[in-house]
């Protein structure tokens, strides 16, 4: 948990990178501790990201972008303390809420999921992947390509059902496939390092705001934040459950909602405490929400949860409806620890805020060199061979190019994790139906999912088309529309 906040604070190292880098370290621990540590890191780095957002106007990760709006303003007004406090408390509330919700929802969902058969499972995975590629970043096409790329990487290795080597080019080192961790680290950690290290010498830095005054929130602060906590938790959790969208969207939606609910919306952007409380709560709640499909269906909703899925699989656990039957103790233990971790987050983080703030002063050069060194360590530790390092290099470059050219990374990683399941279920489904592709349409549940998939994929395209046509006809009115919506 502590490590999580540490890594979250460091700009540019978000939860994904942190988890990816620290996975190798968790090898030595037993499953429970390893998982708890990594989930703790997830939570922690969400919070850490808000610290930088408030103090330096640099979001620690995407979800904290919204916090920079009002958080930094509050810091400039000497109210950094309350901003940080409300972020911490909000995160705590969210964590508690979402853990509870998880506890309640999960068994129910697991019961339902029990009736899911191979074809449905296959389609569910397709749904998750299509949602992720659609909703993650701007260009849907790029998202699709990223997903396909991930699937393609997964194809390398021995085919599970027939033992036939695929795309191994006669190199024995890859006949087991390309390690997931390697790709995860190469795609996330390395490009961050490269991008930051390759910046020309005079890149600008924002001023770090000192924490003046007390940490305590005034009664007025509490009052304003309370509503935000409530709304943020619920909204965030629900958003988190849906695959493809997660903490970042949750924080954004929360901000917009708070602004609309507020009696004086013009305070936003100038240091309104609800602007920090809401989003921070929402993004932590989304973390909890994202764990729901992971635990109950075994389907991750984001890159980070994909990493977690991988870890589960590594320990030999298959998350999904089975888990509640075969390993209920482990599951409940994890959930319980999440709650404990939450409490610790609150207790530890408030007093230690000063310490974290000073971390911000680590200059980028040693920091990112360290990241690279860690990546190398992590990767080497998987298989003890140097060949993996060359793979790391290649994928690092690929990851860099992807980030620079706007290709989302999340779908790739998700696709990589889910590919085996995808293929397995498809083949099983086919053998059940003896090659009848129409089976997907004949079964009611799968038909439903199929329709959903089509909707998810087609709808955004239709909307974009509409706007395109509108814009072509009346460019002036769209300018006016833009002005209004910007204010």
């Amino acid at each position: 948990m502590f490590i999580g906040t540490l890594t979250g604070v460091l700009p540019g190292i978000g939860p994904i990178t942190a988890i990816a880098l620290l996975i190798p370290l968790s090898f030595g621990l037993d499953p429970m501790s390893g998982l708890i540590m990594l989930i703790g890191i997830y939570y922690g780095s969400m919070y850490g990201g808000s610290t930088t957002a408030i103090l330096v106007r640099t979001p620690g990760e995407l979800a904290s972008v919204v916090t920079t709006l009002d958080g930094y303003e509050m810091a400039k007004q000497g109210r950094a303390g309350p901003a940080l406090a409300t972020a911490a408390i909000g995160s705590f509330v969210a964590g508690t809420f979402s853990t509870l919700a998880l506890m309640l929802l999960a068994p129910l969902l697991a019961l339902v999921a029990y009736h899911v058969g191979s074809p449905e499972y296959f389609l569910l995975i397709v749904l998750a992947l299509s949602m992720v590629s659609n909703l993650t970043t701007g260009s849907i096409l790029k998202g699709i390509i990223a997903t396909l790329f991930g699937l393609a990487i997964a194809m390398v290795g021995l085919d599970m059902q027939s033992g036939v080597p695929r795309y191994t080019f006669g190199i024995p080192n890859i006949s087991d496939g390309i390690d997931f961790i390697l790709v995860a680290i190469a795609l996330f950690a390395l490009p961050e390092a490269f991008i930051n290290l390759a910046k020309p010498k005079d890149a600008k830095t924002e001023q770090v705001q000192k924490i003046k005054g007390s940490l305590w929130m005034t009664r007025d602060d509490w009052r304003r934040s309370a509503g935000a906590y409530g709304r943020g938790s619920v909204m965030g959790f629900i958003i988190g459950v849906l695959p493809g969208i997660g903490p970042s969207l949750a924080s954004f939606v929360s901000y917009v909602t708070e602004k609309r609910f507020s009696k004086n919306p013009e305070r936003f952007g100038k240091g309104a405490i609800e602007g920090v409380a809401g989003p921070e709560t929402a993004n932590n709640a989304a973390v909890g929400g994202a764990l729901v499909p992971l635990f109950t269906l075994g389907i991750p909703g984001s890159a980070t949860t994909a990493l977690l899925l991988f870890i589960f699989m590594m320990y030999g656990l298959q998350p999904g409806p089975m888990m509640f039957q075969t390993n209920p103790d482990l599951l409940w233990a994890i959930i319980a620890s999440m709650y404990v971790g939450n409490v610790m987050l609150l207790l530890l983080n408030l007093p230690l805020v000063g310490v974290f703030a000073s971390l911000l002063k680590i200059p980028p050069v040693p920091l990112y060199i360290g990241v690279v060194a860690f990546s190398v360590l992590g990767v080497y530790g998987i298989n003890y061979n140097v060949f993996d390092l060359s793979l790391l290099f290649i994928f690092g470059i690929i990851g860099y190019l992807m980030q620079r050219y706007g290709f989302p990374l999340a779908p790739t990683v998700m696709a990589l994790v889910l590919a085996p399941l995808l293929e397995q279920n498809f083949r099983r489904a086919m053998s059940i139906s003896n090659g009848d592709l129409l089976m997907f349409v004949k079964r009611p549940v799968s038909l439903g999912i199929l329709i959903f998939i089509v909707l998810v994929v087609i709808l955004p395209q239709i909307l974009t088309l509409r706007k395109y046509l509108k814009n072509r006809q009346s460019p002036k009115s769209s300018e006016v529309e833009k002005d209004i919506s910007n204010n």
């Binding site: 190798p24 030595g28 972008v65 919204v66 701007g138 260009s139 096409l141 699709i144 390509i145 396909l148 790329f149 699937l151 393609a152 194809m155 085919d159 027939s162 036939v164 695929r166 490269f194 991008i195 290290l197 390759a198 910046k199 020309p200 890149a203 970042s248 969207l249 954004f252 917009v256 200059p363 050069v365 040693p366 060199i369 360290g370 690279v372 060194a373 190398v376 360590l377 080497y380 003890y384 140097v386 390092l389 060359s390 790391l392 290099f393 470059i397 980030q403 620079r404 050219y405 706007g406 293929e423 086919m430 053998s431 090659g435 909307l463 974009t464 706007k467 395109y468 072509r472 910007n486």
Partner: protein, 133 residues
């Protein structure tokens, strides 16, 4: 019968189609002035992402970084972990930040040593020792 070829070929075809579509889209967008910006919601998030995309990058620096990294990998096994890492850290940090050479030196020496001890003794992950074994 769904053999081992089916999935990869399907993916390959889809990938080719998607890439072609992307290229076509790029050509169309270059010609027209349409700005694909319908949803205000996504704006701030996209800005943050675009900042990442458009952050100024010094290609020369990048190339040096990559070459150094490659050298690190090549020397990793023959020189052993401690030495290759130390060289890497020192080399790269000196290139990027000559002024803090003292700090760079300290970092380059301390980091690999601590890591080596930690991993070898505590975590039982054995790093290559190169010519020192």
């Amino acid at each position: 019968m769904i053999g081992p070829k089916v999935f990869p070929i399907t993916i390959g075809i889809l990938l080719a189609l998607a890439s072609a579509a992307l290229m076509i889209k790029g050509i169309i967008e270059a010609k027209s002035k349409f700005i694909d910006d319908p949803n205000n919601k996504k704006n701030i998030l996209r800005e943050a992402e675009e900042e990442e995309e458009e952050a100024p990058q010094d290609s020369v620096r990048l190339s040096v970084i990559l070459v150094t990294l490659l050298a690190y990998f090549v020397l990793f096994s023959p020189l052993g972990y401690v030495l290759s890492t130390a060289l890497f850290i020192f080399g790269l940090s000196m290139y990027l930040d000559k002024k803090s050479w003292k700090r760079n030196l300290a970092y380059a020496v301390v980091f690999p040593l601590i890591v080596f001890l930690l991993f070898n003794e505590v975590l039982a992950v054995y790093l290559p020792t190169g010519p020192f074994s």
